[in-house]
Symmetry: C2
Subunit: 225 residues, 2 copies
């Protein structure tokens, strides 16, 4: 791929870990791109190490300001480990399409990804935890937090919320058509992009829903890449 791009701003100065070494023109270190990719998704993959063994756990996340958050049970292996303050790699990737070039070698994928490094920290204190969980709920289903049954003290205790400062972070993006070897453009083979995207289907009522309760309007606005 050889598409030319103007040099983007570097809000997040690249470090040895975040500098994209291969296909560096796909890298973005600006806040707008990084936050745009993060705010479009729901599931991240968190990498951490226990006794030299890497673990990669998929989990829901959200962003608030210069931090990303995820949560889970206080009893989970991942979160018990992370609250010790270990290095993590936080990765989000959205698949946008198959790029079918005239050769397999130049075939590719259109995607938007973010990789962040740092030490995850637990969110402590009931007030901060509640605020974080509310931000998560409102990101996905704005308005629902006030409708649903509020967390109990016991539930809050059983919930660990982790956060990672967005400091050492980079995005990598590929879009557009294939970039074939010049001589391959003459070949008699189809080439192009097969776009892939996520859709939200109509909500399905809980079988035990009280008759007459309609699906709320905010469900129509849910969008996840």
């Amino acid at each position: 791929m050889r598409e030319a791009k103007p040099p983007p701003p570097q809000d997040f100065p690249p470090t040895p870990r975040t500098r994209v070494k291969r296909l560096g023109y796909r890298a973005c270190y600006d806040r707008e791109t990084v936050y745009g990719i993060l705010d479009a998704g729901l599931v991240c993959h968190v990498g951490y190490v226990i006794d030299g063994q890497p673990y990669v756990t998929p989990t829901a996340y959200w962003r608030d300001g210069d931090r990303v958050y995820w949560h889970g049970s206080s009893a989970s292996r991942m979160l018990r480990r992370l609250k010790e303050g270990v290095p993590v790699c936080f990765t989000v990737a959205h698949l946008d399409g198959l790029v079918l070039a005239r050769s397999g070698f130049h075939s590719s994928i259109n995607y938007r990804s973010v990789m962040a490094f740092g030490t995850a920290e637990p969110v402590t204190g009931e007030v901060a935890k509640l605020a974080a969980l509310e931000a998560f709920s409102e990101r996905i289903t704005p308005g629902r937090w006030a409708e649903q049954r509020a967390p109990t003290k016991q539930e809050l205790k059983a919930t660990l919320v982790m956060s990672l400062e967005l400091e050492e972070v980079a995005a990598k993006v590929r879009d557009g058509p294939p970039a074939d070897d010049e001589e391959d453009y003459a070949l008699d083979v189809w080439a192009g992009v097969v776009p892939v995207r996520r859709v939200i289907d109509p909500p399905e009522d809980d079988p035990r829903l009280i008759p007459g309760i309609a699906a709320p309007d905010y469900l129509g606005a849910v969008k996840i890449d």
Copy 2:
């Protein structure tokens, strides 16, 4: 979530790393479930460790028999590291829906995920490499391998193909409606599932496509969860 399930077969005996400790009823160790989840996806997240730092790289993968494969440039940081034979965690996760319970605490996500541990090995030899790349191509776009320009010796050399034996592996699945606290079912709040899925849009011709070349039929059969 308290849905009852019959005990599934354990084709992959759980190890300390793959035994699902929390919500163990969501775990599956049978080949049919694990392979079904793997065969439905395109992008995995590979975790590995360099100098104690975890890295999580999203990349395309495919399965062939009892192995998963991924590939990339021989120059990539991930692949250079992996061909030394280091421990990896290979994770695939498909998002199927938002589970909106009457409380935030019981709200969840419907998903299918697989986590595999082991040591990734490079596929060596031109014949084996070609066979692996053909399997990848045919998994996504059956019939295209014979149409497109074949890999050159130089391209093959520049491509590293890695594989991981599926041996220490587990799946985790959540589906179905929310499972609220019994007393919350009386609350006047909507609950249910918002289904999420991936769709494939109509193919977009390469701007430099030779006029008259139609998009091939196999594009209509592409499916990626």
